[in-house]
């Protein structure tokens, strides 16, 4: 069972985001980075499948040099090797072009499953995995909460809205986009961290891939900004005791809800 896991590195959740000088993205200078949360669950799911069925877990990540850190982190948990797609032309690609790059890079690989996160925390397209499946001509399903491998196919539990679920069967190979909460991701062990250094990463740039047409975003971010507040929020200020007193007063006599 060979599994490709698409990992994206995103600014860590605690990051203070600032708009960059030309207003087109955030200033990446002082950010710390982490693996996109649903991708951590995707990786864990891949590692568990590998433990049951054998085979390889291959990490694929598009991004600058810093994403090697994310790939190594996956190695430390048990992934076997990595494909790092690094080229200035790959910077801030939309979902369609990210999927094109990944599709091209894994063409020579033999895989049974491709796991992605259901959505990235930064762009939040919720598209890359589905487009990847379309480009590869294989089936997919999204928002997956459970995976059972059957003979030549896979049965998955798909999350629907409002607490509903649905079982879906699809033939392998397939792309599954993984939802958070599907498992409890492991921590890397010291031994894993030591071993991670020796595992191979293949780095590929634009010229190593047969991309055909140029990588032109179909959707272009023109401007990013902190949204304007639309609702009048009463901000209560002061020491914890002061704000607590104000809040109780407001809830009792203004909103009349306690």
């Amino acid at each position: 069972m060979n599994i490709i896991v698409c990992l994206k590195q995103v600014p860590s959740r605690e990051s203070i985001l600032r708009v960059n000088a030309d207003g087109t993205w955030v200033d990446e200078q002082d950010l710390s980075w982490e693996i996109n949360e649903p991708d951590v669950y995707a990786l864990e799911e891949a590692l568990r499948l590998k433990e049951r069925f054998g085979g390889e877990v291959i990490i694929c990540s598009v991004g600058p040099a810093r994403v090697q850190q994310a790939i190594r982190e996956a190695f430390a948990k048990g992934a076997d090797r990595g494909i790092h797609l690094n080229d200035p032309a790959f910077e801030r690609l939309d979902a369609y072009n990210t999927a094109r790059v990944i599709a091209e890079a894994i063409k020579g690989e033999s895989y049974d499953l491709i796991l992605t996160g259901l959505q990235s925390d930064d762009f939040g397209f919720a598209q890359t995995g589905v487009i990847l499946a379309e480009l590869l001509g294989i089936p997919h399903t999204t928002i997956v909460m459970e995976i059972h491998i059957l003979d030549g196919k896979v049965k998955v539990k798909r999350e629907l809205e409002a607490g509903w679920f649905q079982w879906i069967e699809l033939p392998l190979p397939a792309v599954l986009t993984i939802q958070s909460g599907i498992n409890h991701p492991r921590y890397a062990t010291l031994k894993g961290i030591m071993g991670a250094k020796k595992k191979p990463i293949r780095t590929l740039g634009r010229d190593d891939l047969h991309l055909g047409e140029a990588l032109l975003n179909l959707q272009q971010v023109e401007k990013v900004y902190i949204p304007q507040k639309t609702k009048e929020t009463q901000l209560l200020e002061g020491s914890p005791e002061e704000v607590a007193a104000q809040l109780v007063e407001k809830l009792k006599h203004e909103a009349k809800v306690i």
Partner: protein, 331 residues
């Protein structure tokens, strides 16, 4: 431009998803701005009952795509049925609501046509007659203005609540009803959906709670939950949570509020250390009074809060519990 706008309706076995009206409203507004006819496509097996729901709505044509293989949703069925329609009609825009189903097929459909899909937009703006779409990035902490590139059709989905379904305009006569030829090869449908179900253990019904204290990742660890529990007790409130708390099993899943959990509208909702991602907001924005306690002044939760406290919940909550107890004793 005037090339027509196509809205894709969504239903589960004949029950229309109400967000369809939000998409239709977006379609009406965009057609007013850009010109051209407005079409609505409905896919399924027997659509006669659904047709009635559209009979008084302002749109030019209701396109019915009926086929045995469209009886239950699959991404392949939907894509293969819509693709020839879109190629024939050449709309300038295809509009959907950003539902879980749209997440599942729209990227595939757009990619099959080599087009971009601007997903989960919260609105649009016209610049020199061209729409610029507004999306949230970084889980709602920032917005981005996005422009489509390349040739139409442009695929766009709007976030729940971006447009108001109850503002859909009606008209008489309603739309022309046009059956659309659908040919599907069963072997092209590789995903096989089975039964839809809910997890059996739905122990609490938070929809009945008058007051809810909800915790998010800001609570840091399961060890701190008793603090929130204590606040809930003084208030006579139910305890609820954002998704990461339930993912970690710090609270059971039936206490999750949001798109994949419960939708509640208590008279008081106190959010402790919850950032305010849209998937959480959709589950609680109908609350009468919303209080947010969060140490990040930019947290999107403050956009929907009536009362906000920028601060450390571990300092504010104990003070709040103390104050509430004092007030209680006075009576």
């Amino acid at each position: 431009m005037g090339r027509g706008i196509l809205v894709i309706a969504e239903h589960i076995e004949g029950r229309l998803n109400p967000t369809t009206w939000e998409a239709l409203r977006a379609g009406q507004l965009l057609t007013d701005a850009l010109g051209g006819p407005l079409w609505v496509a409905v896919l399924g097996k027997d659509l006669s009952a659904l047709t009635a729901a559209f009979s008084d709505k302002r749109c030019d044509e209701l396109l019915l795509l009926e086929h045995e293989l469209l009886a239950t949703y699959t991404p392949e069925g939907t894509t293969l049925a819509l693709r020839p329609l879109i190629e024939a009609r050449q709309p300038q825009m295809v509009i959907m609501s950003h539902t879980y189903q749209v997440r599942d097929f729209a990227p595939k459909l757009a990619a099959a046509l080599g087009r971009g899909f601007i997903s989960d937009c919260i609105g649009y703006r016209l610049e020199d007659g061209h729409p610029v779409f507004i999306r949230q990035i970084f889980q709602g902490k920032m917005n981005a203005d996005v422009r489509v590139q390349g040739d139409p059709p442009y695929f766009v989905s709007f976030q729940a609540g971006a447009f108001r379904g109850d503002e859909v305009e009606t008209s008489t006569p309603g739309p022309t009803i046009t059956p659309v030829e659908v040919s599907l090869d069963p072997s092209a449908i590789r995903t096989h959906p089975m039964e839809r179900f809910r997890e059996a253990k739905q122990a609490v019904d938070l929809t009945q709670a008058e007051i809810i204290v909800a915790i998010g990742r800001g609570i840091k660890s399961a060890d701190n939950i008793p603090l929130a529990q204590e606040l809930a007790e003084v208030l006579g409130a139910e305890l609820a949570a954002s998704r990461p708390i339930c993912d970690n099993e710090w609270l059971p899943m039936d206490r999750q509020i949001g798109s994949s959990g419960q939708t509640v509208a208590p008279k008081l909702y106190i959010a402790l250390g919850i950032s305010g991602a849209i998937q959480h907001i959709v589950g609680m924005k109908g609350s009468k009074t919303i209080v947010a306690i969060n140490k990040d002044p930019e947290a999107p939760i403050f956009d929907i809060a009536d009362y906000g406290i920028v601060g450390d919940l571990f300092e504010v909550v104990p003070a709040l519990i103390k104050k509430l107890r004092e007030v209680k004793e006075e009576h």
